[in-house]
């Protein structure tokens, strides 16, 4: 790899990182696990003059039980989520999905904060966090704020994060025992980004569906919710799933590329939504 030459700064704290970003302006880029940024540097598609390494900041790598939520430090690696007991007990979908990202070496380096900040609609974590109705905690020069996942992802690789803000925590709800979940990822190779991914979080109620939240990966410029399916499934019977899933691609705008045509993505979203909801009901 022969990137354009850059300065490398190690942030010792979140405040220090923000100061470094302030000092260096638009030419600075935050580096955490590096699994999105480094390939861009390698191809010289990105040429920041300063890399601010936040990966060594103490105290951002944790999973905490926080009432009805789990609080997850932004520097928590995917591999840690996969094996974390609190995650397994209260929010299995998050750990399961972390285990589908890239390959083990990517999972050991990549962080949940990075996956969220990058705002990639073909990333698995963003759509899962949307289906969970999670929250993103960020810090900037003027202090912190908490942004709902719904408001966080604005467009392709574009989030509500201000240039001087850094993601510090992701908060997801603890799922009740009658809530089933599934994440179905369709990719050509296991290490690839999803051609389509479907996250289903389904509350069961007396053998029927209470409510369902469906997050879609790679079906638009942001991770989105399949609201038509969610409405159709509200209070529905398991027998209604196949019919409801047919509207999974309603209101979506999937891309057409070498991996999949728009038509194929729409088809996969419908099939995968059906299978995800069925799996969630059985889990």
């Amino acid at each position: 790899m022969q990137p354009v030459s850059f300065d490398y700064e190690v942030a010792e704290s979140v405040d220090h990182a923000i100061d470094l970003l302030k000092e260096n302006g638009e030419d600075a880029k935050v580096l955490a696990g590096g699994h999105s940024l480094i390939p861009l540097l390698r191809l010289r598609l990105a040429a920041p003059t300063v890399l601010v390494d936040v990966g060594r900041i103490d105290g951002l790598n944790y999973v905490r039980d926080d009432g009805d939520q789990l609080a997850i430090g932004a520097l928590t690696h995917h591999r840690q989520l996969l094996h974390n007991e609190l995650v397994q007990e209260h929010c299995g979908i998050l750990g399961y999905t972390a285990g589908l990202l890239g390959d083990p070496s990517v999972q050991h380096r990549g962080t949940i904060g990075g996956a969220v900040s990058h705002g990639d609609p073909s990333g698995d974590m963003p759509s899962v966090i949307r289906a969970l109705e999670g929250e993103i905690v960020v810090q900037g020069p003027d202090g912190g704020r908490t942004i709902s996942a719904e408001d966080f992802f604005l467009d392709y690789l574009y989030t509500a994060l201000d240039p001087l803000e850094i993601v510090t925590e992701v908060r997801v709800p603890k799922l009740s025992s009658d809530t089933g979940w599934s994440y179905k990822k369709f990719s050509r190779r296991s290490q690839d980004w999803a051609i389509v991914g479907v996250a289903a979080v389904v509350e069961k109620s007396n053998g029927n569906i209470g409510s369902a939240r469906i997050g879609l990966t790679s079906m638009g410029s942001t991770p989105i919710r399949a609201t038509a399916v969610e409405e159709a499934l509200s209070g529905a019977s398991p027998d209604d799933v196949a019919e409801a899933a047919k509207s999974a691609d309603e209101g979506t705008s999937p891309a057409s590329d070498d991996a999949a045509s728009e038509e194929f993505r729409r088809h996969l979203a419908r099939v995968w939504t059906r299978r995800a909801v069925e799996e969630a009901l059985g889990r």
């Binding site: 022969q2 390939p39 369709f186 050509r188 038509e263 194929f264 419908r270």
Partner: protein, 803 residues
């Protein structure tokens, strides 16, 4: 021999002690980086490297015009397959015009690689884009855009071979099937990219070129032909080389540039390819359009095969580009005996990266076409695919037997391989499971696919190679010497880059000499260490180079026997040799170990009068015929009919490569070959857009499968010795890439045939499979009813598919 000795090579490789070319650091060494064209076809209207020269650390910058006098021979092509073959001049750095994305426009030499890379951005260059021609059929049309304007058309060659009455056979046949198959372009992806260090030889003049190459001996010749530097002033060293798959069976413009610039500057020059360059500028494999026809009787007897091929050269001819398809032409007859055969190949220039040998090189193309069409024949006749094959197999033979395509296969017993493969896979049980799934409308359908292949290895008889248009020199050389201390040095002309020759050649020498493999040191990959050599490619090393080692050892033993007789004061005729000991027949206590004989030979004081001292024997082996390994593969697929996703559930491979020297190495070759064959069938394709840009320019976009995508392999062997050499060995390096693609695709089609699917192109990625299902069902894509795979339409589809 025959034991699974752990590879001698591995401790160094797995502990980071290997000596890759990029590890070589020489005093004063400079680094070369290359400016490559972003256009597939363009005129260079302005080129100025002076700003690059102004950058600190930059020592030199060159255009094609600057160095044109240094490489009068350009980048030579060694193959001439027809008298009127067109061979465009390829200067290592172009002048005036670029012809594919990645073509080299300028070179910068600097004190380190980063500086050189940065300086490329300072070069001023303007291009005037020209029309491109990317597809072969379009390239052959009248008035097509010309890849090379000084040529009248884009046809490189038009080659044809015919035997028997092909026309007559097609006229008389009950059944004629014609299908078109596509061999997509593939990127070889050796784990170590190319790398070269060129330096003046400080000791005795001349030059040393270290290179990540499969072919140091060929490189020495080609570098001389290109630059005019006398052959005896060039030494080429292949240090540890991390894979090649044919992509390093070449001598590249970058090696020539590094040598020429090192000569000009008087300083060592290193060039190391990055992965993006590897994708654009290292040769690609395959790239063939196949119109395949078979004529047969209603009983399933094949009467004739006709293959009409377009083969994609890319923009230039590399070392062997035009001969790859031609060398595979005769293999389109496969493992079937019939009367009439023809093969016509047109080589076509396009604005793409040049193609050349990629693991299998001509034979995967052939095996795929014949194995696909035999399956189609079975479907047409409503016969079991194995039944059709059995009707056309040769009776088992162990002496050279003529084929419809004009070769002489060495030995074959397909029946034994097929019987074993059916048993191993529980074929009947698989068919029952398949039937159950069909009846249950399982959305995931089971497919069972076969490939019964043969290939051509052991390149090869020099005369036969001359006939192919590559001059000859198909021999291989070995030097075996026993030292004073009883240790053995084997210098081989083969040049391993992952194959494990150090281990296998040690086993061969140890067996012949009665020493242990640890007593044997194998020397290779250096034209100074093994002056004669023809290197490693085409699964030739064991069947030619290993035999040279074996025969050189026999010479050593013959001479040692004479010395032993002299030492034991017995007649040579009475000396027996076993287990490393020479003894007098009938008096086993009268014996001398070969190590003692070796010392005596070295000292020379007590050897027969007039004999040369030492045990030091050369052997150059030129085989009488090629070898023809064969095998039967069974691929079991599960295809999700709702998504088009294919999973290989099981893969059974029964391969016959003759007697096995080291089963661990043979299994490893098969595992890797099968992985690459499956990769072609299901995943990989080098894709260019209509402007000539390589779209699959990185490992993100180019679908190399990983371990999760690949099955566990169930391997077994039959053993049919080859009469082509004294050990009976055949070669196994490419068996997997040849056998696997048709087995996989036949399996998918078999699984989906009730839906009416009769054809799927490679790579069978999900969207392609899904579209094939949609098309076969006559439904517009997207109107799929969810909740089940085959459902009611299957009855109609079955009728529709039975054309």
């Amino acid at each position: 021999m025959g034991g699974g000795l752990a590879r001698k090579e591995d401790p160094n490789l797995v502990t980071g002690k290997a000596n890759w070319t990029d590890n070589i650091k020489l005093p004063g060494m400079l680094h070369m980086s290359l400016l490559r064209s972003p256009f597939a076809h363009a005129k260079i209207t302005n080129l100025d490297v002076s700003a690059a020269l102004d950058q600190p650390g930059v020592v030199a910058a060159y255009t094609g015009a600057d160095l044109a006098d240094e490489w009068p021979g350009g980048v030579p092509c060694a193959a001439t397959v027809t008298e009127d073959q067109k061979t465009p001049f390829q200067g290592p750095i172009v002048q005036d015009e670029v012809n594919y994305m990645g073509d080299v426009v300028a070179a910068v030499v600097a004190t380190d690689r980063y500086t050189a890379q940065d300086a490329l951005e300072a070069i001023e260059v303007d291009y005037e884009p020209l029309d491109v021609v990317m597809e072969m059929e379009a390239a052959l049309e009248d008035g097509a855009t010309l890849v090379h304007e000084d040529m009248e058309d884009n046809l490189c060659f038009d080659w044809k071979a015919e035997a028997g009455d092909v026309e007559g056979a097609f006229e008389q046949a009950d059944v004629v099937i014609k299908e078109r198959y596509i061999q997509q372009r593939l990127i070889p992806n050796a784990i170590e990219p190319r790398a070269t260090v060129a330096t003046q030889d400080p000791g005795h003049g001349g030059y040393v070129v270290y290179s990540a190459t499969q072919v140091p001996h060929l490189a020495k010749i080609v570098l001389s032909l290109s630059t005019g530097i006398p052959e005896n002033q060039i030494r080429v060293v292949a240090p540890d080389v991390g894979g090649g798959f044919g992509s390093k069976l070449n001598v590249y413009r970058e090696e020539i540039m590094a040598l020429v610039i090192a000569k000009k500057l008087g300083t060592p020059v290193k060039w190391v390819e990055d992965r993006s360059e590897n994708y654009q500028a290292t040769i690609q494999g395959r790239g063939q359009l196949q119109d395949m026809e078979v004529a047969a009787t209603n009983e399933g007897r094949i009467l004739a095969v006709r293959a009409t091929l377009l083969d994609d050269m890319g923009a230039y001819l590399q070392l062997l580009t035009p001969v790859i398809s031609v060398s595979g032409a005769a293999m389109f007859a496969g493992v079937y005996t019939f009367d009439a055969f023809s093969c016509q190949i047109k080589g076509v220039f396009t604005n793409k990266t040049p193609t050349d040998a990629y693991r299998g090189a001509g034979r995967p193309e052939a095996a795929y076409a014949i194995e696909r069409i035999v399956d189609s024949l079975a479907r047409r006749l409503d016969m079991d695919p194995i039944e059709v094959r059995r009707k056309n197999f040769y009776e088992p033979f162990d002496e050279p037997t003529a084929t419809p395509a004009g070769l002489e296969y060495d030995s074959m017993n397909m029946q034994a391989a097929v019987d074993r493969a059916l048993e191993l896979s529980d074929y009947e049980g698989l068919r029952e499971e398949q039937q159950r799934r069909r009846e249950n409308n399982d959305p995931v359908q089971l497919g069972i696919g076969f490939s019964t292949y043969t290939e051509i290895c052991g390149l090869g008889p020099s005369q036969a190679l001359a006939g192919l248009g590559i001059g000859g020199a198909g021999w291989e050389a070995a030097n075996v010497r026993m030292l004073l201390t009883g240790k053995v040095e084997v210098a081989t002309g083969t040049s391993p880059h992952g194959q494990g020759h150090e281990t296998s050649w040690s086993q061969i020498a140890a067996d012949a000499l009665g020493v242990t493999p640890d007593d044997v040191e194998v020397l290779h990959g250096d034209t100074a260490v093994s002056p004669m050599g023809r290197d490693t490619y085409g699964s030739r090393s064991l069947a030619v180079g290993g035999i040279a080692v074996h025969l050189a050892c026999e010479k050593v033993v013959d001479k040692a026997k004479k010395i032993a007789a002299h030492m034991l004061e017995a007649s040579e005729d009475d000396i027996e040799f076993e287990g490393g000991k020479f003894s007098v027949a009938g008096s086993p206590d009268q014996s001398v170990a070969i190590q003692d004989v070796s010392a005596t030979a070295f000292l020379g004081a007590n050897i027969p009068e007039g004999m040369e001292p030492g045990l030091n024997e050369n052997m150059v082996f030129d085989p009488p015929n090629f070898t023809f390994p064969f095998g039967a593969h069974v691929c079991v697929t599960e295809t999700d009919t709702e998504t088009g996703k294919v999973r290989i559930r099981d893969y059974f491979a029964v391969d016959d490569c003759g007697p096995v020297i080291n089963p661990v190495i043979v299994d490893g070759q098969l595992h890797g070959g099968l992985a690459q064959g499956i990769a072609q069938a299901l995943y990989e394709e080098a894709i260019y857009d209509e402007d000539g840009t390589l779209v699959t320019g990185s490992m993100v976009d180019y679908m190399i499968p990983g371990a999760p995508e690949l099955p566990n392999y169930t391997l077994d062997r039959t053993v049919t010795p080859s009469p082509s050499n004294p050990l009976g060995v055949k070669g196994v390096g490419e068996a997997g890439t040849i056998g696997a693609p048709p087995a996989v695709i036949n399996s998918i089609i078999d699984g989906l045939s009730p839906l009416g699917v009769t054809h799927i192109d490679m790579p069978a990625l999900p969207m392609r499979v899904w579209e094939a299902i949609q098309q076969a069902r006559g439904e517009s894509a997207g109107e799929w009813t969810s909740g089940g795979g085959i459902q009611a339409e299957s009855a109609d589809a079955t009728q529709g598919g039975d054309e």
